[in-house]
C-alpha cells in the first residue's frame, strides 16, 4: 500500500466509508482512482509489473463496497483495456484513455436515458415512481418538460423515506407531484399510465434488484395493465449473475423501522428490514439504458455490448472476479 498514490487511497476510503455514494458516483470515483494510479505509477517500466500493480489497485477498490455492482463493472471495463497491449507505454495510455472514456460515457448515460425514456411517455400521462432514482427522476422531468406529464405519484418509501427526496427533486422542476404511502399503490394504480423506477442491479436474466417494494409495485401495475419501465445505466448490469452468482440482499438495522425504545420494549418482536427485492422480468415492460430500450430478458445484450469480456468467463474463477485474468496475466 505504501507505494500507492495518496489520492487513490483517499478515494478508496471515501467509497468504503460511504462518503462517496450512489452507483454512478462510486463507479466514476473508482475509475478516476485507476487513472491516477496509472499516471502516478513509479515502479519499473515493465508491462508485467505494471499489470500486477493495476490489478492490486483494482482489487483494493473492488473490496471497498462488495455489493455495489457498478464498482467491479467500472474497474473491469477499465482494466480490460490491458488485454492485448504489447508494451508498458501502450498499457499506461490504454488505462488512462479507457478511464476517461468511462467517466464521460457514464455522465452522458443518465442524460441519454432521460431522453430515450421520455420518448416512451405519451401525452397526458400519469406516472408513479418508487424510492429515489436519479435516472427515473431524469426521465420523468424530461417527459414533463416535453409537456407530457400531468401528474406524478411518488411513494414515501419506508423505512428511510427516499420518496421525500424524489418529491423535492420533482417539485423543484415544477413537476406536479403527490406523495402516497407505500400501501396505497394499488389504490391509485388505475389512474397511472407508467411506473418508472430505477435499479440497483440488473441480473443477466433481466430480473431487477431495486428498493424493497419495487416488485409489488410492478405486480400491481401488471394487474392494472400499467406499463413498468426501469431506467438503468449499463454499469448496473451484473456480469457475475451470468455465472450463476445470486444477488445477496442486505438486511439493515431494525432501528430504521422503529425507534430503539420500541425495540427494547418488545424483545419478542423481530423487525425484519430487507433493503432490496427482486422484480421478475415478466413484470417489466422495458429497461431503458443509455444504449436504448431493451426488453428485460435481453439484458444479456447489454452485458455483451458493454462487457463482452464477461462472456468468455475469463475474468471469473469459480464465480468470483479475477482481475488477473481480466488483464491476461
Amino acid at each position: 500500500m505504501t507505494n500507492y498514490p495518496q489520492r487513490v487511497i483517499e478515494i478508496a476510503n471515501g467509497i468504503r466509508e460511504m462518503r462517496i455514494r450512489g452507483a454512478g458516483k462510486i463507479a466514476r470515483a473508482a475509475t478516476e482512482a485507476l487513472k491516477i494510479a496509472a499516471l502516478e505509477y513509479t515502479g519499473e517500466g515493465d508491462l508485467v509489473a505494471f499489470k500486477k500493480y493495476m490489478v492490486n489497485i483494482g482489487e483494493l477498490l473492488v473490496s471497498t463496497r462488495p455489493t455495489a455492482v457498478s464498482l467491479p463493472n467500472a474497474i473491469v471495463y477499465v482494466l480490460s483495456s490491458l488485454r492485448g497491449v504489447t508494451s508498458f507505454r501502450e498499457a499506461k495510455e490504454a488505462v488512462v484513455k479507457r478511464a476517461e472514456r468511462f467517466i464521460s460515457e457514464s455522465e452522458e448515460a443518465t442524460r441519454r436515458i432521460s431522453q430515450i425514456g421520455a420518448r416512451r411517455v405519451r401525452e397526458n400521462s400519469v406516472i408513479l415512481t418508487h424510492c429515489h432514482s436519479t435516472a427515473a427522476v431524469g426521465v420523468i422531468t424530461e417527459a414533463f418538460k416535453q409537456g407530457k406529464v400531468v401528474k406524478v405519484y411518488s411513494t414515501e418509501t419506508r423505512p428511510a423515506y427516499q420518496g421525500r427526496i424524489t418529491f423535492a427533486h420533482l417539485a423543484k422542476s415544477g413537476v406536479p407531484v403527490t406523495q402516497i404511502p407505500d400501501s396505497a399503490v394499488r389504490y391509485v394504480i388505475n389512474e397511472v399510465d407508467y411506473v418508472i423506477v430505477g435499479a440497483d442491479t440488473v441480473a443477466s436474466n433481466g430480473a431487477v434488484v431495486n428498493k424493497i417494494g419495487t416488485s409489488q409495485v410492478a405486480l400491481a401495475a401488471k394487474e392494472a395493465r400499467t406499463r413498468v419501465y426501469v431506467a438503468a445505466e449499463s454499469y448496473k448490469f451484473s456480469p457475475l449473475t451470468l455465472v450463476g452468482e445470486l444477488v445477496t440482499i442486505e438486511y439493515r438495522s431494525p432501528e430504521e423501522v422503529v425507534p430503539r425504545e420500541w425495540l427494547e420494549k418488545h424483545p419478542r418482536v423481530k423487525v425484519l428490514n430487507p433493503v432490496f427485492d427482486v422484480t421478475p422480468p415478466e413484470y417489466i415492460d422495458a429497461i431503458i439504458t443509455e444504449h436504448g430500450v431493451i426488453p428485460p430478458q435481453a439484458a444479456v445484450l447489454i452485458l455483451i455490448e458493454k462487457l463482452g469480456w464477461a462472456l468468455d468467463f475469463l475474468g471469473y474463477s469459480e464465480g468470483r472476479l479475477d482481475l488477473n485474468r481480466i488483464v491476461s496475466l
Partner: protein
C-alpha cells in the same frame, strides 16, 4: 371519531355511548345523538358498515317500538355483536393449524380475538405484521401478539412480497363487505391480497355479517375516506419536509372477491360472493333487514320534529 378504532371497536363504542344516553336521557336526546352519529360516521367513517348497521337497527327499533325498552335493545344488540364476532373468530380459528405462519396488517379486533383464541387452544403460530402506514397500527398488533407469546415479525408495508413465500395464510379484518363480495379494509389490504394470490397463499377475511352493506345490493357505492399529508408525519417531522409537500392518504381500499378465499362469518366460512345469498337464507341476523338508512334518518327526524 377516531380513525384508530377498528370497525368493530367503533360499533361497540357507539353502542356503549347510545346505551348510556338511552338509560339517562330522553327520547329526543337519544334520537338527536343517533342523528349526529349518522352524520359523523358518514363524513369520517362512511365505510364502517358495522356502525352504520348498528345505528340503523337502533333507529328502526325506535320507529317501530317507540322509546320504551330501547336501552335493553341496545344492550342486546351489543351482546349480539360480540357473540357473532366471537363465532366468526371461532370459525376462522378452526382453519388454522399449529405451526402455521400468518400475515396480517393493521390492528383488527377480529384478528386480535383470533390470536387470543389460538393461544387458548394451544396452537402456536408465527405472525408477520406489516407496519400499516398511515397510522402504523401494525405496531399495536405486533405488541398484542407478542403479549400472547407468539413469535412476531414486523415488516414495512413494502416488504410484503419479499416475505410472502414464507407465509401460509393471510388473515385480515374488514370495515365492510359489499354485495359482490368485495371487502373494504385498511389501505394496503388489496395489495397484500394480490401478492398472496400471486404466491398462491390463501387469504381469509374475518367479518361477522354485521359488516355486510345492504345498500350495495341496491347499487350504492361504498365511500372511502381520504386524508391529507398531515396523517403521514409527526409535527417535528413536518418541519423537515420538502417545500409545498402534499400527499394523498387513502385510509381504506377494496379487495376484489376473487382475491379472497373465504370470509369467516358467524354462520360459517363462505366464498365472499356467496354472502348475499347466505344472508337472504338466514335473515335472523338482525343486521340484514334492508331498510335504507335515509328512510330511518327521515323517520327519526320527523319523530323529533327537526
Amino acid at each position: 371519531m377516531s380513525s384508530r378504532l377498528t370497525g368493530s371497536e367503533l360499533a361497540l363504542s357507539v353502542l356503549d355511548e347510545l346505551y348510556s344516553t338511552a338509560s339517562k336521557g330522553s327520547e329526543r336526546e337519544l334520537v338527536k345523538r343517533i342523528l349526529d352519529l349518522v352524520d359523523l360516521t358518514m363524513s369520517e367513517r362512511p365505510a364502517s358498515m358495522a356502525t352504520i348497521n348498528v345505528l340503523r337497527q337502533i333507529g328502526l327499533y325506535i320507529l317501530e317500538h317507540g322509546y320504551s325498552g330501547v336501552d335493553k335493545y341496545i344492550l342486546e344488540l351489543k351482546e349480539k355483536y360480540q357473540a357473532i364476532l366471537e363465532r366468526a373468530v371461532e370459525v376462522m380459528s378452526r382453519r388454522i393449524a399449529s405451526g402455521e405462519v400468518l400475515l396480517s396488517n393493521s390492528n383488527s379486533l377480529a384478528v386480535r380475538k383470533l390470536l387470543a383464541h389460538l393461544a387458548k387452544q394451544g396452537k402456536s403460530v408465527k405472525l408477520y405484521v406489516t407496519e400499516s402506514r398511515p397510522g402504523d397500527e401494525g405496531l399495536l398488533l405486533a405488541e398484542y401478539a407478542e403479549g400472547l407469546g407468539f413469535d412476531v415479525y414486523l415488516i414495512v408495508d413494502s416488504a410484503t412480497r419479499f416475505f410472502m413465500k414464507s407465509i401460509d395464510k393471510v388473515v385480515v379484518g374488514a370495515e365492510a363487505v359489499a354485495s359482490n363480495g368485495a371487502v373494504v379494509s385498511k389501505i394496503g389490504t388489496s395489495l397484500i391480497a394480490l401478492v398472496a394470490k400471486e404466491a398462491r397463499k390463501r387469504v381469509f377475511v374475518i367479518a361477522p355479517t354485521a359488516k355486510f352493506s345492504p345498500e350495495t345490493l341496491h347499487g350504492e357505492l361504498l365511500k372511502l375516506p381520504e386524508h391529507d399529508w398531515k396523517l403521514l408525519v409527526s409535527s417535528e417531522e413536518a418541519m423537515r419536509l420538502p417545500e409545498n409537500y402534499n400527499a394523498r392518504v387513502p385510509l381504506y381500499d377494496v379487495t376484489p372477491p376473487e382475491y379472497i378465499d373465504a370470509v369467516a362469518t358467524e354462520y360459517g366460512l363462505f366464498a365472499p360472493q356467496a354472502l348475499p345469498l347466505v344472508l337472504s337464507l338466514v335473515e335472523k341476523s338482525g343486521f340484514t333487514i334492508i331498510r335504507p338508512l335515509e328512510d330511518v334518518v327521515s323517520g327519526l327526524k320527523k319523530l323529533i320534529g327537526v
